[in-house]
């Protein structure tokens, strides 16, 4: 029945609705440039969401863990085969995303007989020079965007915009790693609070129009409130941080920050969360 164009469009529309629903419980991901490279952070539950892809490439994701694994393996395969056959400097985030993984995600999304990938991903690339750093995001339908300086993944475009504008507003250039981590976690909290708000609005269901307007218009909470939110959530979850470090020795620039690093780098109010 999908042979009819109308049916197909309808099926794709349903799929979009279904997928949007899947990300509501997800934890946002924030990527931010700092003076020594790029920082990725999220607060995860159970399965990690930040990974190393290649010498200068990192992956952050939202969505179904198994789908994220599939995407991760495809990226790893492509990157390593290319790096071996050509050279490590030919493995670029932009090629991997645009000609590698985005078409695969788009195809899975449009083949309405098959299951789509329930993922939103972010690929961070550390360039040879800071001005060559790139952040790429791909949506579940294969749409990709390339930015520099900052990028986020969140449940809805509205939340993403909110987080991005907060990052833009707050970011004095360039940040140290501590400052970047502090800011990234506050941006994460904005995203996480917005997810909770959306959820609450949906459950209230009374006057979705006005409450929606109210939540989006609501003032950005203070830094302390945001950090307190991270604190309340991080107790039963894990603050996950990874960096692509320009000055790291050797060819692999990716390093995930261990508890020891975090207890030194996190804002004072959060240090007790990692300590225990």
């Amino acid at each position: 029945m999908y042979e009819e164009p109308y049916r197909w469009v309808e099926a794709v529309g349903n799929r979009r609705q279904y997928l949007d629903e899947q990300f509501k419980q997800g934890s946002p991901v924030v990527a931010l440039s700092y003076d020594g490279g790029i920082l990725l952070t999220t607060v995860s539950k159970g399965t990690p969401k930040l990974y190393e892809i290649y010498d200068r490439l990192a992956l952050g994701g939202m969505g179904h863990p198994t789908d994220l694994e599939k995407i991760r393996f495809s990226l790893l395969e492509m990157a390593h085969v290319e790096g071996f056959n050509r050279s490590p400097s030919d493995v670029t985030g932009s090629r991997l995303v645009k000609y590698g993984i985005a078409p695969v995600i788009k195809q899975a999304f449009e083949e309405v007989y098959k299951a789509p990938f329930i993922v939103r991903i972010l690929v961070a690339e550390l360039g040879q020079k800071p001005e060559k750093d790139a952040l790429l995001t791909i949506n579940y339908d294969g749409t990709f965007e390339e930015t520099t300086g900052r990028a986020v993944l969140a449940a809805t475009p509205a939340v993403q915009t909110k987080m991005m504008s907060y990052l833009k507003e707050q970011q004095p250039a360039p940040l140290s790693l501590e400052q970047a981590l502090d800011l990234a976690l506050r941006a994460w909290a904005i995203g996480s609070l917005a997810h909770q708000q959306d959820e609450a609005d949906q459950q209230a269901e009374a006057k979705p129009q006005t409450s929606n307007a109210a939540s989006s218009a609501a003032a950005i909470p203070s830094s302390d409130t945001l950090i307190a939110h991270v604190r309340s959530i991080a107790g039963e979850r894990t603050i996950e941080c990874a960096i692509l470090e320009r000055q790291a020795p050797g060819s692999s620039k990716y390093r995930s920050l261990k508890q020891m690093d975090l207890s030194r780098l996190l804002p004072a109010a959060l240090q007790s969360v990692v300590a225990n």
């Binding site: 290649y54 790893l76 071996f84």
Partner: protein
């Protein structure tokens, strides 16, 4: 899930082959023209190699790097046909990285050794044909056991653990004897040498090899050409800079008779 994390397998699926025999080979006079050595010292393991590449009696190049870092804790020193050896190092480097990144854990030291063996075994046809024999020394720091290890191989991929030291290449017969003598009757066994003395020892050994083997390059001070020495400890691989070797060489290796 059986072969997950196996980079060589992935390459093969894409049609890659290592060391296909290229028929020609009747001449079995393999030129392993080089000298490489590895020995355990107080803090870990030292791996060194001269820098000469030869073809017959022609010196091809005097700045070859035969001691290659595969990852943060392992090094392969190569003797034999450079084309194949460099290719193997590239495969290994990518294999270890690929394993670590896909499986989210470091490949064990034994796993790394096995990977070297497997590559050498795949290379047997080329090795026997005379176009691709490689006789490497693999050294590294086993993080799980907290100890330094040295292994050497024959061209067919058999792996032997060296208790104290290993040598390979055309200059190796000369220094093998010296190593044995030093280690048995010297002032102290090699494994007790502090870092600086270990470096001096390596420079002297390579100078001896160069003395008796025309295919081993010595030190060329005019051109600031020193051997390659790498130290592997729990902290990782460290390449000794020329600036460190120069004074050591001048004060403790050169003898003006």
């Amino acid at each position: 899930m059986g072969m997950q994390g196996d980079f060589l397998q992935l390459l093969k699926e894409q049609g890659y082959t290592l060391g296909a025999s290229t028929a020609v080979g009747t001449g079995h006079a393999l030129t392993n023209a080089t000298t490489i050595l590895a020995f355990k010292y107080r803090d870990g393991v030292l791996v060194a190699g001269d820098r000469r590449a030869t073809a017959g009696n022609m010196v091809m190049y005097d700045r070859t790097d035969k001691v290659l870092e595969i990852d943060r804790h392992s090094v392969m020193a190569i003797a034999g046909v450079p084309a194949t050896a460099y290719e193997m190092v590239r495969v290994l480097e990518h294999s270890f990285k690929y394993y670590r990144r896909t499986q989210l854990q470091e490949l064990s030291f034994d796993g790394k050794l096995r990977a070297v063996s497997k590559l050498l075994k795949e290379n047997v046809p080329a090795a026997l044909a005379g176009t691709g024999a490689v006789v490497p020394v693999f050294a590294g720091y086993d993080m799980e056991q907290g100890s330094a290890k040295i292994y050497f191989y024959d061209i067919l991929g058999a792996e032997f653990e060296a208790v104290e030291y290993a040598v390979s290449g055309s200059g190796s017969p000369t220094i093998r004897g010296i190593l044995h003598y030093q280690n048995t009757w010297g002032e102290q066994p090699l494994s007790a040498l502090p870092e600086e003395q270990a470096m001096v020892q390596a420079l002297r050994l390579l100078a001896s090899a160069a003395e008796f083997d025309s295919a081993t390059g010595g030190v060329n001070r005019e051109a600031s050409l020193y051997p390659v020495i790498k130290l592997i400890t729990g902290a990782g691989v460290q390449t000794v800079p020329d600036a460190t070797m120069k004074p050591l060489y001048e004060s403790q290796v050169v003898r003006y008779v």
